[in-house]
């Protein structure tokens, strides 16, 4: 196996590891349902995915505007906290895992085989407290406990809402999910391979960009606004180029993310929405060092990258479709993992990698308690960073199908029975044969929040 292949496989595993690390169960917030007496279905198409009413509520700073928003109207004992977790049974299958021919004997050589573990398991645990500190001041705190015990601060922010009495001016500061109408945080699927929008996290094989994707909450400040029915929305965020990591690990650059969406009504079909977005950033390619060891916070040799595209949300009776397109670019130094002060290390013919990707996700809402889900997603490299890398390296295709049934949907809590199957094909990443690497995931479980 050549160096390029090793790098390619390493990158693919890094992608999977990244996804496993960053993809948490998305959330709904029964604390709000308890506060207002509304059911989950008022704000969620099927929780956790927001409908336009829920999106408006969120954009209003978690306020309905009916004089019951400020904490002073609540019982003193009311504490807007919720948790969400998913006890489940799942089976994972990877058909191209390199194993020793004789288990335990490294000298026996490697062969590819299929590994299919299965069993009962737990998702991580989301704890969320969110609401209003005062009229027009909202907040969100989300610690996360991983299934193996690790903890992190997934999000923490405060938002000044409706500044100068205008919905068009809101300012949020902290660590927050980027303003995505098709939200990674509210994805409906949970299985290992189906719980992420891969486009949101993608970086090409061999790429050293510290930025891992628009699906990860980032640190910064966001200015946003919207019309009273949320049909027109905008947001602009200025973010530290640290991939949402606290402590300023790279430390000296800023990124910009912007989103604009417009919804419109079509007679007999309902609300439709289109939007455009873009993330434009810089990433360090090397650091100051002491004795050769990088010093955190001294990122240097920043080089640019961007992710940009468009999306749509389309309603056709009981069906709705989400369509998403992304074009990505990383600078040649990022794409080849070469420090910008060592240009000679760039391979001949090196170029900044570019790619295109997208997905179509369909939902069939039989009623508020039963929703079917299907998604197809793909990524296609259009230019590799290194000409020696096979042209399709990095390409992937995923399919996910499933349903969520909500036997309990009340203003107090929610419970969903979930079944889904997901499949991902990573082009040419089998560790020995270089064939396509295919993983399958099946999950069924009880997804609940309170």
């Amino acid at each position: 196996m050549g160096i390029a292949a090793i790098k390619r496989v390493g990158t693919q595993w890094l992608l999977v590891a990244t996804l496993l690390a960053v993809v948490r169960p998305a959330y709904a917030i029964p604390a709000f349902a308890r506060k207002y007496g509304l059911p989950c279905s008022a704000c969620h198409e099927g929780w956790p995915m927001l409908n336009n009413f829920g999106q408006t509520f969120k954009d209003n700073g978690y306020q309905l505007g009916n004089d019951r928003d400020a904490p002073i109207y609540q019982q003193p004992a009311y504490w807007p906290v919720m948790f969400r977790t998913t006890p489940n049974w799942h089976r994972e299958s990877n058909d191209r895992v390199a194993v020793d021919k004789v288990p335990g004997q490294a000298s026996s050589g490697l062969v590819e085989t299929t590994i299919s573990p299965s069993g009962f398991d737990l998702s991580g645990l989301d704890i969320i407290t969110a609401g209003t500190l005062y009229n027009n001041i909202s907040f969100f705190v989300q610690p996360f406990i991983g299934a193996s015990g690790g903890t992190s601060i997934a999000q923490t922010w405060v938002r000044l809402d409706n500044l100068f009495g205008s919905r068009w001016l809101n300012v949020k500061m902290g660590k927050f999910e980027l303003d995505e109408m098709i939200s990674q945080e509210r994805i409906l699927t949970l299985s290992s391979t189906g719980a992420a929008y891969y486009n949101y996290f993608f970086t090409p094989p061999g790429d050293s960009n510290i930025f891992r994707g628009i699906g990860i909450p980032q640190l910064g400040v966001e200015v946003s606004g919207h019309s009273d029915n949320d049909y027109t929305r905008y947001s602009v965020s200025v973010l530290s180029s640290n991939d949402g990591q606290t402590g300023l690990p790279a430390g000296n650059s800023y990124d910009v993310y912007t989103n604009f969406a417009q919804a419109f009504e079509i007679p007999r079909l309902g609300l439709q929405r289109v939007g455009v977005y873009g993330y434009f950033g810089q990433s360090a390619t090397f650091f100051q060092t002491t004795g050769g060891q990088p010093i955190p916070g001294t990122g240097m040799g920043n080089r640019g990258f961007y992710r940009a595209g468009a999306y749509g949300q389309w309603y056709l009776g009981k069906f709705d479709f989400q369509t998403f397109y992304m074009h990505g670019y990383d600078n040649v130094f990022l794409g080849n993992a070469v420090p910008a002060n060592q240009q000679s290390q760039l391979p001949a013919g090196a170029a900044g990698p570019t790619w295109n990707g997208g997905f179509v996700e369909a939902h069939y809402t039989y009623n508020p308690r039963l929703i079917g889900i299907g998604r197809y997603e793909l990524i296609r490299m259009s230019r590799e960073a290194n000409p020696s890398i096979r042209g399709s390296a990095g390409n992937l295709d995923t399919w996910t199908i499933g349903y969520r049934w909500y036997p309990i949907m009340s203003p107090r809590a929610g419970l969903a029975w979930v079944q889904e199957y997901s499949r991902i094909v990573n082009a040419g990443t089998a560790p020995i044969s270089g064939k396509d690497d295919i993983s399958n995931s099946f999950l069924m479980g009880l997804d609940f929040d309170f």
Partner: protein, 262 residues
Amino acid sequence: MRSRISFAMIFVFLLLGQSSLGQESHVGTLVGNAKKGKALYQRYCIFCHGADGDGRGDSAPYLDPKPRDFTKATFKCRSTPSGSLPLDSDLYDTITRGVHASGMPSWKPLTRQERVDLVAYIKGFSPRFQEEKPAAAVVIPAEPPTSPESVKRGAELFQSMNCWLCHGKEGRGNGPSASSLTDSKGNPITPFDLSSGTRFKCGDSDQGLFRDLTTGLDGTPMPSFSDALKPDQIWDVVHYIHTLRASNKSQRSQAQAEPKAE
């Protein structure tokens, strides 16, 4: 024989159910479909207003004021005279605007068609909508300019018409009768604090306030003053009520702008 009666009852029940789903609503050029409205009702409304529209949803015990009982076809916010059914546009406006100082939010994020569909379905909960026609909307004459004299006359009317008995002498909702008031279902009800600076229940415009004084808020102790007062006098009361709110102007300015009916 018993089974025949049972079948007949089931048939009648199904017929009634179907008839409610055949109900239409008309707002502007939009025609509401009750069948589509039912799906929306189950998603957004059922937990407060109940599966049967009787205001006894799961959340109802915890809400104050209580959710509207659609089976009575008695609605606070109307443009029609007291006792009359509301116009479809009245129900549409209420859904769009919400009812301030209650658990009912603005549903403006729903599409216009969805809100009209909801109106069609809600009308199916009461046979009155099939048996009666709503009266014509009350006429709201042009508003005369506010003046100290108008405010003074309004203050006198506020006293002489006994508004203060419920709303209090300073409009704070703490009049001597306030603690004993109940709505048409016997639930305790609190008079509106006119000095609170917040929006009124059925809209915040002067025309809306004039309309409320003219039509009354059916199902509450707030009567119609259309027989007792002339239009100019009602405008005087509107102008006086504004002076009660002025004391809390800063709080009013902090409140979010009212979602406008369309």
